[in-house]
Symmetry: D3
Subunit: 247 residues, 6 copies
């Protein structure tokens, strides 16, 4: 149930029995020679929407640009500064809380968002903690990376014993190929499995990972893999959402 495709009266009715909402958040950044710049937003969005359908939950519009400063040396990458992203998450949650939403479940497609979104939750709570807003309903936020469930981890280990990697991963490329088959392309990459390591700013990242990948061999991906990742992630995320809002 996409919030964008509903009316305000629908939402008013929804809030009579439910107060949870799913919010997809991704990134817009290079994903290696063949991965899509939108990978992290597109995967978060498809899985959030699938899970929302399954769980009977509203799904907010996707926050498509996240914290991706380290990718800025590759053309097309866009970042919000952490403080900007904190403000975006804060305004989004505060707006929805006004209507009576109390549980905000962010489905995340980008590892680089985790710290900043977690800090944003604290920023939201801090306002309340510092003002002792005891007459307001308590709100809670959670961040759920789509790849964090045991099923996904199993699947990934099964399909890609090596070269899943941590950026431009085989699994995320598979997901996008499943939903956007017109974008499938394979290129020879050197080395086949990209190097791993840490990084600081954009120039440091590019020095370490010249074609953008970290630890991955995305040529292993297939759209059929993508379907399996999709089904598994939707299943697991929907289940986790349902359990979390029920707490």
């Amino acid at each position: 149930m996409q919030l964008q495709l509903k009316t305000w009266q629908f939402v008013e009715d929804y809030l009579k029995t439910k107060t949870g909402i799913i919010i997809p958040i991704g990134s817009t950044e290079q994903h290696g020679p063949t991965g899509l710049i939108g990978t992290d937003a597109l995967t978060a969005e498809m899985i959030a929407r699938g899970a929302g359908e399954k769980a009977g939950a509203l799904v907010a519009p996707t926050i498509s640009v996240g914290m991706a400063q380290h990718h800025l040396d590759f053309a097309g990458s866009i970042t919000l500064k952490p403080t900007t992203l904190i403000a975006v998450v804060r305004d989004t949650v505060v707006s929805l809380a006004r209507h009576g939403f109390t549980r905000f479940f962010f489905v995340n497609g980008h590892g680089g968002n985790i710290a900043t979104v977690t800090a944003a939750f604290s920023e939201i709570y801090a306002e309340r903690s510092m003002e002792r807003m005891s007459n307001q309903p308590s709100i809670k936020c959670a961040l759920r990376n789509w790849w964090d469930g045991p099923g996904i981890k199993r699947l990934s280990a099964e399909l890609y014993p090596t070269g899943e990697g941590s950026h431009a991963t085989a699994s995320e490329v598979a997901l996008t190929w499943y939903k956007y088959p017109e974008t499938i392309q394979r290129k020879e990459m050197e080395p086949r499995i990209a190097p791993t390591g840490s990084f600081a700013d954009a120039e440091d990242y590019r020095r370490a990972f010249p074609d953008g990948r970290i630890g991955s061999d995305p040529n292993q991906a297939t759209p059929e893999h993508g379907k399996r990742f999709y089904d598994t992630a939707v299943e697991e995320v929907a289940r986790d959402y349902a359990a979390w809002v029920a707490k």
Copy 2:
């Protein structure tokens, strides 16, 4: 050409001959008893993508949440504070400028964004004006509301001699029905044509416009109208974009 569906190497090639990009920006807010909460983002997105295709221009991911504080008394509406939206627009443009983009053409679906996005452009320019960044390429931003072309104005006058309105308009509803026919619904509304007037904050808005519409009779909309609006807007926006980047 959606940026999200391209690779960084594609963008690097694109920048060898072009430096313009289209950025759709909308809003997430009530659109009357039958209009979609996502109307302004969805219309901006569909028209921006259509125009990008026609003009051979890259289209960035949609900024789906805009400045909609006045709609917050209707369930489901989300706003960014103006200062937050300014930061989002600023970071987006500065990120892209680093790659060599110099012309940023925002296709807008929401009247409430105009002042803030224009202020954001000034914020971006102000940094450069105050620092005399003369060794950097000059950048320019433009905001183009999809409904501002003469063709759209003509079509709107032809199809809706009365009751086009200024919020939850017949034309924007038609556009969403054309692309999302599964969302079509009509309800009796009282009065048939909503009142007009001004407003301040969310509670003031709701007092003046109890079902959310301003001046409109969206029941006049049809998906066929939507197609005509779509074709016209895409045509006009693509033409204006091409003329603007060529200046």
Copy 3:
């Protein structure tokens, strides 16, 4: 009735029957070879004060520096960044609202302020909309450019069939010459009527408009014209203010 020339007890009495206030806002920026750097603040101030007298309204001190980043390549121009100006407008309104003022009527002398001041109003409303401050009196803000009334438009068309322009206009120069006759000077300008067009940052502006004017021939101005503009603007602004606070 200038707020600056009153006592707090006078204001306390005023608030027993009235809750509106006029706030002049201008800019400090080049106005071509002969126009005053203070033109926009001085014209806003004189008209706001005249209108306040006529309408029996208090007039706050003038916000003399506005959003003028595009003029910074001409000596003497000063700008606030949009986010700074938003904070100034916000603090001003919130301070006055504490005393019981509820209607804030900004008389504006500078086109470049419009977007930012409008965004500032939204910033003020957004705080209230996001917090559901229903136990507070509703406040409203309006922005009124002194040149926007029909009388001014008629007068301008009558006196300057060509060369009124949009920056360093003949009419604003006339207004300053009426009130500050010691500053009258005429210089030959080349071309007589300045070019028109758009602009981005300060360096872009100067490239396009080398002597600072846009579309104007200010040598047409006379102090007698200035008196007619002044009388008309005061009349129209006072009338609009009275109508607006009465709503």
Copy 4:
């Protein structure tokens, strides 16, 4: 020489031989039962302009609203938050520095501004210190309260052996009466000399100083005193400015 009454070409010429500018800064706040709300801005402005004339220095437009949170429980008072005022001072100085000004001499009319404006200077310097902007000309800022010269102190001691006070002072009231004789009024005040003491926020201030004055008996003021204060302050401020820019 008021910057507002000059052209950009005048300023360009001025900068060929001088790089200093005087910036008046005041406040908009209650000044007891008879003192003007604009006292601090009006006195700073008149003295700054007088001193500018004497010293051949440009005088920027007055920053009329300062840091006056403690006066907000008296109708008509307006404050900027310290962080807002810091941004205003920063933008003003940075704008003028772009043109080649290097010495910024703030003539201050309000004790409550001192800490914040001093912090603003540090904010400006901090940007430069943290970035090692060694290729930029060095800039310096100074704050000069009009009442700080020995002549003023002598005059005040001579005219008001008791009851000069520290807010709504006899001397500042005298200054406004000299320049704005139409505002002269005397009222019996109880006690004749107001209490002294410290204060925190607005409500604390009002508890301690119920009619707004601190330590003063403004009924002692006369316009003739005002002239003497004016002449002395102009003389002393002009001299200090000249000495400071010459360093």
Copy 5:
């Protein structure tokens, strides 16, 4: 080698051969019925200083207040908002980078800091990534929790098979008792091992963890344990620092 106990000339010499610095960061928050409010800052500080001695590294002053909004319902806890802490970390690193430091190793005593400090690193990098500051030396930041080494994990498992917990842990209490034996106190706690779970804002935290502990039985701690934790942590942190700066 504490930075606070050195002279600037010592630091200038140090920078001729080394460019790394250790920065302790903790928190000021309740630590259960017997744990010290300063636990997280004191443990980070003692271990950072010990490791600095061992590694021959300068140690900056401790950032004693961190992100602890969730503890605010217990008296004495202090928090910085995440955006404030980001600014503190940013200014600290930028100041030190000016002198030539390039490696910033934060030794952390508080789990609640991790997300915000990581976001702060991204904020610092983002400024550089967005501006393409290629002419500046590359800087890198790392965050090292004192409890993250294998030795500490082993020791904790050995000494506290149950009841180590995650807040007011037995190990951190032991560390403070080792260094501050005058603060040792034991109290009966109910239940002996505190509950575990998640939390949102301060009131939510207190509901879930009424005496402040999470999952721990701090009465198991002894100062002798503290010495073992101290020695192990110093050893491991020093080794990790040395390896990291050498990369």
Copy 6:
């Protein structure tokens, strides 16, 4: 009574009879050829703790980094921007106010902090003044430089008839030598008594004061002097604190 060494239950008890707290604030900056970089934080801390002991007051953790932009051209100096320091002071006070503290007594070791910390107090009050938070207990903040008492002034005049100076002063060096005797060192300095004068940013400071001292001859200091300064400052600060909280 250091807050860091207490439990939350201790603080809860303390608040039953007392609502004041002492907060040491210093700086991390060069102090001449022999003075410690931590001088201002260490002296504020030792005196605050001594005074807290004497007055039976809790002492918060030291804010060790202050506003020291002007020292950044000397290795090892760290600064917070004024706006950052304002946020730190604000969050600290607001956190503690939530628990019931109402009197915040900052013991300061650095002249460069005075303006910014005073502005921070106003920022805190301004929030309350603008929102008319009349249902909250009134809070008050004070800043007390350790060197401001008459006893210290007498002692300084007695021990150092010349060369006390205003930065890297003989008295502050003596204090640090008393508490950190292992850091004692003397070096020949040229001139023996450093020059005096004003300064703007970091580079301006270094031009004027090449070895970092202002007006001082720190070689006069002895640890015995330090003890006398310490005893006197503790006595005076404790007395002033007690008087202030009793008001």
